[in-house]
C-alpha cells in the first residue's frame, strides 16, 4: 500500500473508507505508546499507531484488519486524544493513512495538533457516530464523503443507500481548513512589527519599567 500525499492547501472535502475505533477517552498513550517517541523524526511512526491495543487484539484490531487497510476516515467516540500533547499521535495516524476524523468530541491539544497537519476533526452527535460505526462494520468498503464547506458527512453503502448527517467544526478552524490557512507559520511571521510592539508593552521584557 502506498500512502497518499500528506494534506496540503485548502481542505474542502475528503472521500475515503471509514475505520472505527470504539471507546470513550482514548488517550494519546494508547494512540502511540511512549516508547515510540524515542525518535528525532516522525517518519517511521505508522507502526506505533495503537501498537499496544493491536498487540493485545492479535490481528483483530481495526488497524490490522485487511478490510480497513485502505481507510482514511477514523470514526471515534468522545474525548478522543486526551492526555499527552504528543504530536506523534496524529503523525502516526496520518502516516498510517488517516486524513480526517469524525467523533463525538476531541481533546483540545489533539485537535490543535491535527489542525496543524491539515487533518480535520469533525464532531458529530453520538447517534451519528454510532450509525457511522455500525455502517463501517457492515460494509467496510463503503466510502464516506466529508464536505467541509457545508459541514456534512455522507455515506453511500450497498445495504443502506445514501445517508447524510451534519457535522460540526468551530468557525476558526473551519475557516483555516477550507481557506488553506491551517499552516500558521507564514501568517505568524507576517506580523513581525506587531510582534515587536507587543513585546515592547510587556513589563517583564522591559525590566518592569512600564509597570503600573
Amino acid at each position: 500500500m502506498t500512502t497518499p500525499a500528506f494534506p496540503a492547501g485548502p481542505i474542502r472535502n475528503h472521500r475515503g473508507r471509514g475505520i472505527a475505533v470504539v471507546g470513550a477517552d482514548i488517550d494519546t498513550d494508547r494512540i502511540i505508546p511512549a516508547r515510540y517517541l524515542k525518535c528525532v523524526t516522525f517518519n517511521d511512526l505508522a507502526v506505533g499507531a495503537f501498537a499496544d491495543d493491536r498487540a493485545e487484539r492479535a490481528g483483530e484490531h481495526p488497524f490490522d484488519r485487511p478490510e480497513h487497510q485502505q481507510a482514511s476516515v477514523l470514526v471515534v467516540n468522545s474525548n478522543f486524544g486526551c492526555g499527552s500533547s504528543r504530536e506523534h499521535a496524529p503523525q502516526a495516524l496520518m502516516r498510517w493513512g488517516i486524513r480526517a476524523l469524525v467523533g463525538e468530541s476531541f481533546a483540545e491539544i489533539f485537535f490543535g495538533n491535527c489542525l496543524a497537519l491539515g487533518i480535520p476533526c469533525l464532531s458529530a452527535e453520538p447517534s451519528v457516530v454510532a450509525a457511522l460505526q455500525e455502517a463501517i462494520a457492515a460494509d467496510p468498503a463503503a466510502e464516506l464523503w466529508l464536505d467541509l464547506e457545508v459541514l456534512e458527512v455522507e455515506l453511500e453503502s450497498e445495504f443502506a443507500g445514501v445517508n447524510r448527517w451534519p457535522v460540526h467544526l468551530d468557525p476558526g478552524p473551519h475557516r483555516m481548513l477550507v481557506s488553506g490557512q491551517w499552516d500558521a507559520t507564514s501568517q505568524l511571521l507576517a506580523n513581525a512589527a506587531a510582534l515587536d510592539a507587543t513585546a515592547t508593552r510587556l513589563p517583564y521584557l522591559q525590566q518592569f519599567a512600564q509597570a503600573a
Binding site: 517517541l37 528525532v40 491539544i109 496543524a116 500558521a184 507559520t185 501568517q187 507587543t198
Partner: protein, 468 residues
C-alpha cells in the same frame, strides 16, 4: 463571556493580531523545550530556512529519557543518547540556554522553570508537554502544545490560538490533615470529569486555594489538563511573591517592587466575570485514589470501587473496561489492594514538600516485603535540598531506592517501568492503560504520602492512620 479575569488580562496583553484564519496570534513570553517534542520542530525550522525569532526566550532541559540510575554519557540506550545529543546540538546552534545533566539546574521542565524563577505571573508559557499547565500556579497562562506549534514558537515567538472560556473553581474550607493538593485535584477531576474542562481555563480560587503553598498550587494546576482544561491557574498573591523573591531569574533591586505591583494588578478582581463557576468544600475531601484507567476514575480511600449501578450510564462502558483491565471488583474496598511498585516523583509530585510528606510516613518504617519502592527527585536542586536535610537517608533506611532526577516511571520513556501486570502506587498524573511502560501494567494514582503508606504496608492504606 468572561471579562476582567487574570486570563482575560494576560490574553489581551499578549495579543499580537487577529489572523486571516480566524484565530488570534498570541505572543509567548516563555518557551520551554525538552528532548522529546523538539527535534522535529528544529528540523522543520531548518527545512523552512528560518532562524529563531527570540532564542533568549526559550529555555531547555532534558528530563523524559534520562535514566535515573546511571546518568553517565553515552547512555546505555542509543536512542536516548541520540535524542539528548540532538537537543544539545540544536541548543548550541541556536544559542539556547540548556540546563543539562550535572549542571545543578537540570530536572523535569515543570520543576526547574519555577525554581529558577523563569516562570512568573502574567506570562504566557508554552511547552511541548501537556503538563505545562503547572506554571499557571504563578498566575501565568501556561499550556501544552504539539511539535508543529513548537516550530511556530521557535520561528515567531508566537502561536495561533483560540481564546478559552474561564471556569472558576472555588474551594472553601481547608484540607484535612493527611489530605493534599493531589487529593484535591483528583477529587475535582472525579466530580467534573476528564472532559469537563475541554474548552475552559480553570481558575482555582477561594480560601482553601489561598492557603496552599506554591508547590501545592503547582500540583493542582499540573493536573488541570487531566480534567480536560488546557490551562489552570491561581491568582498571584503574597505566597507567590515570597516564593519568587531571590530566585535566579526573578526581578531584583528596584524592579522587584514594580514587578510585584504589576503582578498584583493582574489578579481577577471582584469585577471579574466567569463563564462558569463550581464550588467545592476542601474539608469534605478524603485522601483520593484512582481505581480505573482515567484520572477521573477516583474515589476516597475509604470508599469502594463504584458498581455499574452507581455509575452514570454514559460512563459504564469505560467502567467495565477499567474493571477488566485493573482486575478490581466493583463494590470492593480500594483500601487493602496489594501493590507491587511504589513510585514517588514526577512533575506532579516530585518537589521538596512532596518528598518531605512521603519521608514523614516512611521514617522509622520499612518497605513491605516484595515491594519495589523508589524516589525520584524532580530536579537536581530538589535532590540537593532533600539530601541537605537528610531525606535521602530516611528513604534509604526505610528500604526505598534514591534515584537521580527525571520523569522516570511517570511515562516510562527510560529504563523505569512496570513489568507485566504489576500494579503501582504512583504519585504521577496518568493511569492510562500501558502508561507506565507495560502494556498490561496498572497504576493507582495518589499523593506522595499515600504512596509511602502503600510502600510500608504493601497495600493501599489511608495515610491518616499512619500519621502521628
Amino acid at each position: 463571556m468572561s471579562s476582567a479575569t487574570l486570563y482575560d488580562k494576560v490574553w489581551d496583553l499578549h495579543r499580537v493580531a487577529e489572523l486571516p484564519g480566524g484565530s488570534t496570534q498570541l505572543f509567548i513570553g516563555l518557551h520551554l523545550i525538552h528532548e522529546v517534542t523538539s527535534p522535529q520542530a528544529f528540523a522543520a525550522l531548518k527545512d523552512l530556512g528560518l532562524a529563531m525569532a527570540r532564542p533568549e526566550r526559550t529555555v531547555a532541559t532534558v528530563d523524559h529519557i534520562v535514566p535515573t540510575t546511571n546518568q553517565a554519557r553515552p547512555f546505555a540506550d542509543p536512542l536516548a543518547e541520540q535524542m539528548l545529543a540532538t537537543l544539545e546540538a540544536n541548543c548550541a546552534e541556536h544559542g539556547i540556554s540548556l540546563h543539562g545533566l550535572g549542571s545543578g539546574r537540570q530536572g523535569i521542565v515543570h520543576v526547574i522553570a519555577p525554581e529558577l524563577g523563569l516562570t512568573q505571573p502574567g506570562m504566557t508559557v508554552a511547552c511541548g508537554d501537556s503538563h505545562t499547565s503547572t506554571h499557571g500556579a504563578f498566575g501565568a497562562i501556561a499550556f501544552g502544545i504539539g511539535t508543529s506549534q513548537v516550530r511556530d514558537v521557535l520561528a515567531s515567538q508566537s502561536l495561533a490560538m483560540n481564546k478559552l472560556k474561564v471556569r472558576r473553581i472555588w474551594v472553601d474550607g481547608q484540607l484535612q490533615r493527611g489530605v493534599y493538593a493531589k487529593d484535591l485535584v483528583l477529587h475535582v477531576i472525579r466530580r467534573l470529569g476528564v472532559k469537563g474542562g475541554v474548552g475552559y481555563a480553570y481558575e482555582f480560587a477561594g480560601p482553601a486555594i489561598a492557603a496552599l503553598s506554591m508547590e501545592e498550587r503547582m500540583t493542582l494546576c499540573n493536573m488541570a489538563i487531566e480534567g480536560g482544561a488546557r490551562c489552570g491557574y491561581v491568582n498571584p498573591d503574597q505566597v507567590t511573591f515570597d516564593y519568587l523573591q531571590g530566585r535566579p531569574h526573578a526581578p531584583s533591586g528596584e524592579a522587584w517592587a514594580r514587578a510585584v505591583a504589576w503582578w498584583s494588578s493582574l489578579a481577577s478582581g471582584t469585577e471579574a466575570v466567569f463563564d462558569d463557576e463550581v464550588r467545592f468544600d476542601a474539608g469534605a475531601i478524603a485522601p483520593t485514589v484512582t481505581w480505573g484507567i482515567t484520572p477521573g476514575q477516583g474515589i476516597g480511600v475509604d470508599e469502594a470501587v463504584p458498581t455499574l449501578e452507581q455509575t452514570a450510564p454514559e460512563e459504564r462502558p469505560l467502567a467495565e473496561e477499567a474493571y477488566r483491565y485493573m482486575d478490581l471488583q466493583p463494590g470492593s474496598a480500594i483500601a487493602g489492594t496489594p501493590v507491587d511498585v511504589c513510585f514517588i516523583g514526577s512533575c506532579t509530585n516530585g518537589r521538596l514538600s512532596d518528598l518531605r510528606a512521603a519521608a514523614a510516613v516512611a521514617s522509622g518504617r520499612q518497605v513491605a516485603a516484595g515491594i519495589k519502592a523508589f524516589v525520584v527527585p524532580g530536579s537536581e536542586q530538589v535532590a540537593a535540598a532533600a539530601q541537605a536535610e537528610g531525606l535521602d537517608r530516611v528513604f534509604v533506611a526505610a528500604g526505598f531506592e534514591w534515584r537521580e532526577p527525571g520523569c522516570s516511571m511517570c511515562l516510562a520513556m527510560n529504563p523505569d517501568r512496570l513489568e507485566g501486570r504489576q500494579i503501582s502506587a504512583s504519585s504521577s498524573n496518568r493511569n492510562f492503560k500501558g502508561r507506565q511502560g507495560s502494556a498490561s501494567g496498572r497504576t493507582l494514582l495518589m499523593s506522595p504520602a499515600m504512596v509511602a503508606a502503600a510502600a510500608v504496608t504493601g497495600q493501599v492504606t489511608d495515610v491518616r492512620t499512619l500519621l502521628p
